[in-house]
């Protein structure tokens, strides 16, 4: 089974169920491969004994006759999810070696479905960043060009899927942290409606924006994972939506209502926000996106021009709200109860200062300072309150747009992956790169990135699809139809 790593979730689950391989064999092969490619910086930690014990348990369930789309399938988790038996670090020195006494709900849900945990994946520290260069441990490298970033903050997650070090993974998306690295690495990823996946056990960055989602090679595999991950968790997370769990695969492969097999998306109106197709987007990205949209027309969809007039405002709004929430969420890392404590200090205040200065990296400290500032007495109304008001208007813009279309499409990011180190001295340039993913995050809408071809230097380009609230199944159907007639998502970087 030397090519086992080339299989997606569906193929691997079927092979395990049919006893062509076992969960243990799959886990061993993938662990070996992940270690072999550790120069990519995808994984932060392994626990081979635990992984193999989980795989063994899955094999026992299969031997007992149980079947399931994830039973025995090895996956890996972004290190934002607390996971028993592995360090849970959020990519930060602050939590180096931290062992959580409980599993995140998303982790527990996938374990219940029989998935096996291969390890924890690298990310920007506390999910703050878009290049994975803010990891306190090491950078992750884009397998399409290892001199380039994989995007972030779920950079390790995207690398693991793209380099075939895991068939699928979990990620988190606060302002684009699933969609942008998926775009940079030719991976399919979806961020569901805010509140659809429990945030319990996700180390918080910005509470009103954080949302978990799967990243995989195909929309179909994403649907399989999301079905297991999502669902109400109202006893642990007050922002969890009290809606029954659903089967996100239910619309895959069937044509839209009233459409045909030849034109499965007939009747689908795809809205193209003019703000996503202007000068702010690189020509090679736009060309790839337009190519994908032409394919959608062939599938029966019609393209509609729309406007999301406050797209530009989403950058200042996001970079007020997210740091404000982060500055408070990260206050618990004070060196008192868990996490890093300075070795030497004069008094309590000195302990706080040293522990936090040593434990947090520069970008995290920058955001804590911005957040503290915008919440301060005298500035709250001008910044935080104003940002919340504009956030509501941004959400309203989407509702106005959805009166004209069923799905919104555009680039996931304005450029392809940049070179490691190119933007590290310019935080604002990093922030501007989030422009196409921030609006849906602020509105709490589901969004995904689908491989849409390649730009200059054969670097991947992702097509972003944004749906209305709870339209995940329709989004996945839309992406799946595209992946039935294109093969962008099957392409892997040379040597992987």
């Amino acid at each position: 089974m030397s090519d086992l790593h080339q299989w997606g979730v569906a193929e691997l689950a079927a092979a395990i169920a049919d006893k062509k391989t076992s969960s243990v064999e799959a886990a061993q092969a993938l662990l070996a491969r992940a270690r072999q490619h550790q120069n990519l910086g995808a994984y932060l930690s392994f626990n081979e004994d635990l992984t193999l014990a989980q795989a063994k348990a899955a094999d026992a369930r299969i031997a007992a006759g149980e079947r399931g789309p994830l039973l025995g399938v090895p996956l890996a988790h972004k290190d934002i999810f607390v996971t028993q038996g592995f360090p849970s670090t959020a990519g930060s020195k602050m939590l180096q070696g931290y062992q959580s006494p409980f599993d995140a709900t998303v982790v527990a849900n996938l374990a219940k479905a029989g998935a096996v945990t291969l390890g924890k994946l690298n990310c920007d520290e506390f999910a703050m960043g878009g290049s994975n260069e803010n990891s306190a441990y090491f950078v992750a490298r884009n397998p399409w060009d290892t001199a380039r970033v994989p995007g972030g903050s779920s950079g390790g997650s995207a690398v693991a899927v793209a380099a075939r070090l895991a068939p699928a993974v979990t990620g988190t998306d606060t302002g684009g942290s699933i969609r942008q690295p998926a775009s940079f690495c030719n991976v399919t990823g979806i961020k569901p409606t805010y509140g659809r996946c429990s945030r319990y056990g996700m180390i918080a960055f910005a509470s009103s924006l954080d949302q978990a989602g799967p990243m995989a090679r195909s929309a179909a595999d994403c649907a399989t994972l999301l079905t297991a991950m999502a669902g109400p968790d109202i006893d642990r997370d007050s922002t969890s939506l009290d809606h029954p769990a659903e089967d996100y695969s239910r619309l895959l492969g069937s044509p839209r209502e009233g459409a045909s097999a030849a034109q499965p998306l007939k009747g689908l109106r795809i809205g193209l926000p003019k703000e996503f197709f202007g000068e702010g987007c690189a020509p090679d990205v736009l060309a790839a996106v337009r190519g994908a949209l032409a394919e959608y027309e062939k599938l029966g969809a019609t393209l509609v021009d729309i406007s999301l007039p406050r797209t530009e405002l989403s950058i200042p709004v996001y970079y007020i709200i997210a740091p404000a929430e982060a500055s408070s969420n990260l206050s618990r890392f004070d060196g008192v109860k868990f996490g890093h404590r300075a070795a030497q200090y004069e008094d309590l205040l000195d302990m706080y200062k040293k522990s936090r200065s040593e434990g947090f990296g520069p970008e995290v400290q920058r955001r804590i300072m911005i957040g503290t500032y915008v919440l301060s007495h005298g500035y709250y109304d001008a910044y935080y309150l104003k940002a919340q008001q504009i956030r509501r208007l941004i959400a309203q813009d989407f509702q106005d747009a959805f009166a004209q279309c069923d799905v919104i499409a555009g680039p996931a990011a304005p450029t392809t992956a940049w070179k490691i180190g190119d933007k590290t001295d310019d935080p604002v340039a990093n922030y501007l790169a989030d422009i196409f993913t921030l609006p849906a995050s602020l509105a709490g809408l589901p969004g995904m990135s689908v491989p849409a071809g390649f730009g200059a230097g054969h670097l991947p380009v992702g097509l972003q699809l944004i749906g209305n609230y709870f339209q995940e199944a329709a989004l996945l159907q839309t992406a799946h139809a595209f992946q039935q007639t294109t093969d962008w998502h099957f392409q892997s970087p040379e040597g992987f």
Binding site: Y200, D237, D334, K337, F338, L375
Partner: protein, 486 residues
């Protein structure tokens, strides 16, 4: 209020202005945002779960019972119960504050307005509430036994509190204590707080300032953590004197937080306004707005007991009790229930009231017992009152019966009366014989009475009662003696 009365409240020509902030710990089984238990006195850190410890990834989930407590208070005090209120984060660093922020309510609290009414002597007073909001308690820092280090106990972290804030309506330390006692009575009466001040279940902060009448409000100092009514009065009196002295000496009052030291009887400043923190309040994104539907309020309303004020008014109307009696008897639901049972069973409400406020309360106070622990229950008291009112025993003999019952020398009133030989002499023939003997033996006294000395009559009654060993009915003695003395 008359000008004269107003003037009498002034201290050295200054008007005292007090507002209260009270933290009532809610009597819920589990914490406000987690499922950990709230019981007092457990080993450190045994009653704190992952949420209370603020472990990475944990989130708060509202305890509905705590909200029900807030609704009960709002209903009891005639407040507006907000259909939607908002939890906010109060951000500050302290080792016993695990998240680095306290979840509280800031701009939109759950309980808005309302008032607390009570009697100060025979004068009815009202203190208006600004608000009452839900929040979580912090843990405790322990500075002893750690050899220069501090210990942190997070058992209390996340315990639900209602912070009840008044307008600055209070004008004296006595009124402050009366307010606090009334509020204490209400929160225990409606069952939302156990009221244990020693254990910190009911903590008061008093904002005190003074001013010349008619002038704008003076600068206030906040006396923190008053945990007994006695200290409350002492602390406020000291603080008022101190502030007046400062002003008289030409010094300005600095806004400050002060603590009362019961050993010295003085208040001293902990921190001044200059080092006040910027708490950076903002709505907690982990908790959606708290929505209280009308149906929930109605449901809570249906489970509310009769409130002390209403009950006192009813006792006046139904039993003809004086206002003072009614107020005293409605100190606690148990006391009121004791009265009503005794009054109904004996058919003698005023007598029951007198006995409960006198004989029963005196004995309870001596033994530092609660009415619920009284060895004589209301039905037994009623049986005794019946025997007094039907003349079987005298009032004085009744007290002896009470002593015996209290001491556990029997349960049955009639049996105790017989055993102690306290039955009143109702045999007219026997009484006449005794009176005749007393008159014969005290002829000079009889003569004095007949010569117009009324005092001699009382002396003769006393002698007859003594001769009957207290068993004679005093009224009957009076009647027969007067008749014989002609």
């Amino acid at each position: 209020m008359s000008d004269k009365k107003k003037a009498s409240l002034l201290v050295q020509g200054y008007e005292v202005v007090i507002g209260f902030e009270t933290h009532a710990q809610l009597a819920t089984q589990s914490k406000i945002f987690s499922r950990a238990p709230t019981a007092f006195g457990a080993e450190p850190n045994t009653q704190a779960c992952a949420v209370d410890l603020a472990l990475p990834g944990t989130l708060p989930v509202m305890n509905r019972e705590a909200v029900a407590c807030a609704i009960r208070l709002g209903l009891a005090l005639g407040s507006h119960i907000a259909e939607q209120s908002v939890f906010a984060r109060k951000n500050y660093f302290y080792p016993d504050l695990p998240k680095g922020y306290q979840i509280s309510q800031f701009e939109i609290p759950v309980v808005q307005g309302g008032e607390v009414s009570f009697y100060l002597g025979d004068e009815k007073k009202s203190v208006r509430l600004v608000r009452a909001h839900l929040e979580e308690d912090a843990g405790k820092s322990l500075h002893e036994d750690f050899h220069g280090l501090s210990g942190i106990d997070l058992n209390r972290a996340g315990t639900p509190l209602l912070e009840i804030v008044t307008e600055p309506d209070i004008r004296s330390s006595a009124e402050a204590v009366a307010y606090a006692k009334e509020l204490h009575k209400i929160v225990t009466w409606i069952g939302i707080c156990d009221g244990n001040m020693q254990e910190g279940s009911f903590r008061c902060d008093a904002n005190v300032s003074v001013r010349k009448p008619g002038e704008p409000l003076g600068t206030r100092r906040e006396i923190k953590n008053l945990n007994s009514f006695k200290f409350m009065q002492q602390a406020i009196d000291y603080e008022v004197r101190w502030q007046i002295e400062q002003i008289e000496d030409g010094l300005a009052i600095q806004q400050a937080t002060v603590l009362f030291d019961p050993d010295t009887g003085e208040t001293r400043a902990m921190r001044t306004k200059e080092d006040a923190a910027d708490y950076r309040y903002f709505p907690d994104p982990d908790l959606p707005p708290l929505v209280i539907e009308r149906s929930w309020v109605d449901e809570v309303k249906a489970s509310m007991p009769e409130l002390p004020r209403q009950m006192a008014e009813r006792l006046v109307a139904d039993y003809g009790l004086p206002e003072y009696d009614a107020t005293t008897l409605t100190q606690s639901p148990a006391m009121a229930a004791y009265f009503e049972t005794a009054a109904k069973a004996s058919g003698q409400p005023k007598m029951a009231s007198n006995w409960i406020m006198g004989e029963v309360s005196r004995r309870l106070n001596n033994e530092e017992k609660d009415i619920a622990q009284a060895p004589v229950n209301a039905a037994t008291l009623a049986a005794l009152l019946k025997r007094i009112s039907d003349g079987t025993v005298s009032n004085n003999a009744g007290k002896q019966v009470m002593d015996a019952l209290w001491a556990g020398e029997g349960q049955d009133v009639d049996a105790v009366i017989e055993a102690k030989g306290l039955r009143q002499m109702n045999d007219a023939g026997a009484l006449e014989t005794i009176i005749d003997e007393v008159m014969a033996a005290n002829a000079p006294m009889v003569e004095q009475f007949r010569a117009g000395k009324d005092k001699a009559f009382n002396a003769l009654v006393g002698l007859v009662m003594k001769a009957s060993k207290g068993k004679a009915n005093p009224q009957q003695v009076n009647d027969v003696l007067r008749q014989k003395l002609g």
